[in-house]
Amino acid sequence: MIEFETPKPIVKQKYLLQTVAEEMMRPHSRHFDEHEHEIPWDYINFMHQAMQAVGAGSLTPSDGDAKEEMPEEKKKKKYPPIGYQSLAFMLETLSWGDVGMYLVTPGGGLGAAAVEATGTPEQKKKFLKRFQQEMPAFGAMAMTEPHCGSDTSAIRTTAIQDKETNEWILNGEKIFVTAGQKSLEEGDGLVVVWATIDPAAGRAGMRPFVVEAGTPGVKVTKLEHKMGIRASDTASIVLQDARIPYENILGSAEVPKEKATKGFKGAMATFDATRPLVAATGIGVARATLELLKEMLAQEGVNIRYGLPRQKLSNVERDVIDMEVMLESAWLLVIKAVWMADNRKPNPLEASMSKVLAGDVVNKITQKAVEIMGPIGYTRDHLLEKWFRDAKITDIYEGTGQINRLIVARNILGYRGSQLR
């Protein structure tokens, strides 16, 4: 079947979240943009309580653990799985409210997503429970290092096994950790730190490790000052002989003899799940921008006349219609990618496509909106200029537009990494 009906539970959820976005986020957008590193606790506490109330502990789509405790008849799903779809809508709507504030939503973020994608059932139970407690907790993923970004296989942070104490000893420095400060210092959170257990093995040696808040030897050393998404903390973390329990490794501790890249593939599997979600946040910013732009234009007496030949439209109308085409088609690509994830269809191509397009589209739309509104768009009296700044990160984090183009290209050409570098 080919269908485009938004599932009813998602429509309901979206209605609620839209209210949250309008009441709890928008009115404070400017404040947290102008007061970088101030924490929006009102929003955080509200979201935490709301999520506890509906039983959604972490911001991850799987309800695998909860389901095991459900009575047998309830486990039989009458509804097709829509976890990722529902999450994409949620992130889109919250980002419509404010993408910087969305990024500090408690519940695990990319850290929980990594545990979800690569952890055992026991690990999921152990590490994800913290997001369902009374106090809000945060999660983060630490991949990038000062000397390497997109080339993730070049990471130097090491994890060495101490057989006597049955622990891993982590050493290294991570930068650009989204919500890293909150995960380690505000509540009982965690950071998933990527390290190598065998530097000679390259990608095959890469493993994710769960580093919990309060681990000795783990320190937040810097908070970045950014172009946009200023409500979200971007932290540097230094690990100095940081000891964590042996069980905190996600995946196997063995480095296979033959050439294998399982650890790296774990990271990539996480990205297949999270890239469409990051794309969804970009779509939220783009929709916010387009809606406000149309409102502002309407106030000036410019209403968009759909259906006319382009030759009869004004330049502004053509721009707005093109923006609408871009927005809707990019959003459908996101939905297809998460729909595939929900239905357990491998989606690395669609995940990267959705990220490529959303990254492009949100930048084009926000840039054009500021341009169209001229001196009004350029001032900080309106949010258009803020969204212009917020948009740019969509094309950078979770794989730059270029890295994702590489992935799309390798998929459509049937090339391995060595054939298309």
Partner: protein
């Protein structure tokens, strides 16, 4: 629910069309374009795939229910072979589908069966007018009501198969709204003009048509005395052209991709260069995105959603930009060889420019 997989029935149709497209249509496209002429046998073979027949209910001689989604899938697959051929094969739908959507019971009974149950015959429609800012909702061709019928006056262009048409459906402005009128060939005042020389889709015979005081009886107004809603017809056409644009773009993308994987440059394949690989990645991404937008518009039309017209317009707008971008890059990726008519990419680029202009030349 969201769902992105064609049904079993749709898959069977797609497979059958794709075989025909790749094995028959594509190989004939070059000569058809050069000679500005189709093989009638080929059109008949395409007609026998039953795309139109499957969208007309049994009571009118067909064997299915109309679905714009299925139509979009079929159109895309046909254009994968040759978009000019696709227009030709789908041409009878220009007359039959508006009658299915908007005709009264008598018109459906009178016309549909004879179109559907016979071999391919050139039934056609006249919508486009010779102006740079042609607007289907603001036609210059005028219809005036008289005591016993209507009088039509105006000039049309891009009328497929007008010289041999079995019947015409001409659209005219009646008191400010676009309405269809059935005008049998030979009606006094109806003059078929010159065949038009074109940039692309050269095999498709498109003609000028003049209407000079063409009198037709009341019963020839589409939908009977009260007429019809023109939106449904325009939406269907916009979605059809968008879907054809997607199919055409897929053809160009796949050809350029395969060429780039085969051709050597500086010791590697062309496709191994990021500048080329990234172009291909963006082409594939755009095609997929606009394809989904086209499907969504078609689905909305099938479901009778309020926004269907807007989305059909957006899908057509998106397909216009996408088809030009993709076909242009396909030529670029082949470099000098792309410019040579031995390869089909320059033909597809010429056709690609037409997606903006082809509204009214196909329906689904």
């Amino acid at each position: 629910m969201y769902a992105f997989e064609p049904s079993e029935e749709q898959k069977m149709l797609i497979d059958a069309i794709q075989r025909f497209s790749i094995n028959d249509l594509r190989p004939a496209a070059h000569d058809a374009d050069e000679n500005e002429q189709f093989s009638k046998d080929l059109i008949e073979k395409g007609w026998e795939l039953g795309v139109l027949q499957a969208s007309i209910p049994e009571e009118y001689g067909g064997f299915g229910d109309h679905s714009a989604v299925t139509g979009a899938l079929a159109a895309e697959e046909l254009a994968l072979g040759d978009i000019a051929g696709a227009f030709a094969i789908l041409a009878p739908g220009l007359f039959a589908l508006p009658i299915l959507f908007a005709g009264d019971q008598e018109q459906r009974q009178q016309y549909l069966g004879s179109i559907i149950e016979s071999e391919w015959k050139p039934f056609t429609a006249a919508l486009v007018e010779p102006r740079f800012d042609f607007d289907p909702n603001d036609l210059q061709t005028e219809a005036r009501e008289t005591n016993d019928g209507y009088v039509l006056n105006g000039d049309k262009v891009f009328v497929p198969f007008a010289d041999e048409a079995e019947n015409f459906l001409a659209y005219a402005n009646l008191n400010g709204s676009s309405q269809g009128f059935i005008i049998p060939p030979g009606t006094k005042g109806l003059e078929v003009g010159e065949r038009q020389p074109l940039l692309g889709v050269k095999a498709l015979p498109l003609y000028q048509l003049s209407l000079n005081d063409v009198h037709i009886p009341k019963k020839n107004r589409l939908g009977g005395p009260d007429g019809h809603d023109f939106n449904l017809i325009l939406d269907s056409s916009r979605i059809a052209v968008a879907a054809l644009g997607v199919g055409l773009s897929r053809a160009a993308f796949e050809y350029a991709r395969d060429y780039a994987k085969d051709r050597e440059v500086f010791g590697v394949k062309v496709a191994q260069k990021q500048s080329i690989a990234f172009m291909l990645a963006e082409m594939a991404t755009e095609i997929e995105a606009i394809r989904l937008l086209t499907w969504e518009a078609a689905w909305m039309l099938d479901e009778g959603k309020e926004d269907a017209s807007k989305y059909a317009y957006l899908a057509h707008t998106g397909a216009t930009n996408m088809a030009m971008m993709v076909t242009d890059r396909a030529v670029q990726i082949l470099g000098g060889h792309g410019y040579i008519r031995e390869h089909p990419v320059e033909m597809w680029m010429r056709s690609g420019r037409g997606i903006a202009t082809f509204t009214g030349l196909a329906m689904i």
